[in-house]
Each structure stands twice: as structure tokens, then as C-alpha cells.
Amino acid sequence: MILGVTTAEKYVAAAYGIAFLVVLVYVLIIALKLGRLERELDDLTWRVRERREAEAEREQREEVPVG
């Protein structure tokens, strides 16, 4: 017995600690994945905006009267 903690208590703490750790790691992995998805979504939004701006510019150029 170290610091008043019995062997049984250590094993019980380890079992519950492992469960907590596994769930925590799982949530961390999901959070990292969500971060990646957010970055990809930002990239796609930027691409769509660029494309729309380019189209608008082209349309504007076509509308300008010549002469």
C-alpha cells in the first residue's frame, strides 16, 4: 500500500482511467477531423467566391459599350 491506496483501488482507478482516456482520445480525433473539414469547407467557399467574382467581372466587361 502506497500513500494509503490499496492495490485493488489502483486497478479500479486504472480501469476507469483507461476508459476515460480512450473516450478522450476518440473525441480529440473527431475534433481534429472536424478542424480538417472546416479548412476544406473554407477552401471550397473561397474557390466558389473566386469563380463567382471572375464570372461577374467577365459579364461586366461584356456589358461595357464600345465607341
Binding site: A15, L41, L44
Partner: protein, 229 residues
């Protein structure tokens, strides 16, 4: 509160999981009496058995979704089956880890190859672990979905064998607490076990929906990328 839960059922499910986990922890450490035979280490039972049953439930759900894919061609059933099996493997890791700790303190061994319950659960775990090798070795598409669905269905046969192993074998030291005569434990212990089981099942359901939502967003983003390319 009711309206919010209807608007965001996943948040409500997560809140329920958190509440049940807190309740189960409180019951395990402040309410349930210490077992006369095994002492304090018996408290591992309230995490080990619910986690094992949750793993079985995940594998069962994965097989059910695989069947829906093969039978009804249900859209998204393949992805749901994959996510359920992934969850099952995670809970399987937890079952093996908590079981090993309990075995060491109770029997003096981390693992016993002579125990058919242990070996059969390991076989089930490895079988579903190999599911990912199959899935990631085949190009995505209907063929992969069909192959994975058949594999998931084969694995489900191992669940009743694994569950019944401790009841069918003769010389065992693995305890049997649920018999045909009902649970062989005090009412307070059974209540704690039920709350813990509900907590783990709710947590698994929450994580299942979170992971599934992530996978769905991922696949839609891929489609969108292809459309914009």
C-alpha cells in the same frame, strides 16, 4: 428544453449520456456496497461488462445495417455499418483492457488462453479489426460496400458464441452473474449495473451519430470538390 432537444437531438443525446455517466460514477463509488467476495476490485465489473455489451451492440448494429444494405439497398447503410463496427472495435479495446486489469487483480494473470470467453472475445475483436483491412484494400464503390456487408454479417455469428461461451464450457473461472434465474447480485448492484449500461449505450449512440455526421460531411465535401474541379 423539449423544443431544443427536438431541434438538436444529438445535443440532447450527448447531454443524456453525460448525465448517465455522472450518475453511474456516483452510484459505483458512493452507493453500491463493496462485494464480499472480490472486495473493491469488483467495481471493475460496472465498467467491464457494460462496455463489453456495448461492443456487442455496436457489432450487432453494424451487422443489421449491413443486412439492410444487402437486402433493401438502403442508402447510407454501408457507411452506418462501417461506423458501428468502428465503434465496436473501440469498445472492444476497452473491454480487453478493463478485463485484463480485472483478471490480474482477481486471478493473478493478465490473460488466460484457457478461458474460452476471453479467447472468443479476442477472436471477435480481431475479426472485426480485419474488417478495416478489407475495407481499405478495395476501391470505394458498390463492390466494396457489398463485400464489407457480407463480412460484417459473418462476424455477427461470433457474438452469441462469445456470449454463451461462459455458460456452455465446464471448467471456468470467469464469473457468470446473469443466469436463467436472473441476475445473481443484490438489487443495488443490479441498479448500478443497469445505469452504467444505459450510460455506455447512450455514449456509444452519441459517438456513433457524431462520427457518422463527420463522415457524411466528408463525403459531401469530396463530391463538391469534384464538381468544382
Amino acid at each position: 428544453m423539449g423544443l431544443r432537444a427536438r431541434e438538436n437531438p444529438l445535443a440532447a443525446l450527448a447531454a443524456l449520456a453525460g448525465l448517465l455517466i455522472a450518475a453511474s460514477i456516483a452510484l459505483i463509488f458512493f452507493y453500491v456496497p463493496t462485494d464480499a467476495d472480490q472486495g473493491f476490485s469488483q467495481r471493475i465489473f460496472y465498467i467491464h461488462v457494460p462496455v463489453a455489451l456495448t461492443a456487442y451492440a455496436c457489432f450487432g448494429w453494424g451487422a443489421w445495417k449491413a443486412l439492410r444494405h444487402l437486402w433493401k439497398r438502403e442508402p447510407g447503410a454501408d457507411l452506418e455499418s462501417y461506423v458501428a463496427i468502428h465503434q465496436g472495435v473501440i469498445f472492444g479495446v476497452l473491454t480487453l483492457a478493463t478485463g485484463s486489469l480485472w483478471a490480474k487483480i482477481s486471478w493473478g494473470h493478465w490473460w488466460l488462453w484457457s478461458e474460452s470467453q476471453l479467447v472468443l472475445f479476442l477472436v471477435l475483436f480481431l475479426f472485426y479489426g480485419a474488417y478495416f483491412m478489407l475495407r481499405y484494400s478495395v476501391e470505394p464503390g458498390p463492390a466494396r460496400a457489398n463485400m464489407c456487408a457480407v463480412y460484417a454479417l459473418f462476424g455477427v455469428v461470433l457474438i452469441p458464441i462469445s456470449f454463451l461461451a461462459i455458460r456452455l464450457a465446464n471448467q471456468l473461472i470467469h464469473p457468470v452473474v446473469f443466469t436463467l434465474q436472473g441476475p445473481q447480485m443484490a438489487g443495488s448492484m443490479f441498479l448500478t449495473f443497469c445505469v452504467s449500461l444505459a450510460a455506455w449505450l447512450t455514449l456509444a449512440a452519441t459517438l456513433f451519430h457524431v462520427e457518422l455526421a463527420g463522415k457524411r460531411i466528408d463525403s459531401r465535401l469530396r463530391e463538391l470538390k469534384e464538381l468544382l474541379a
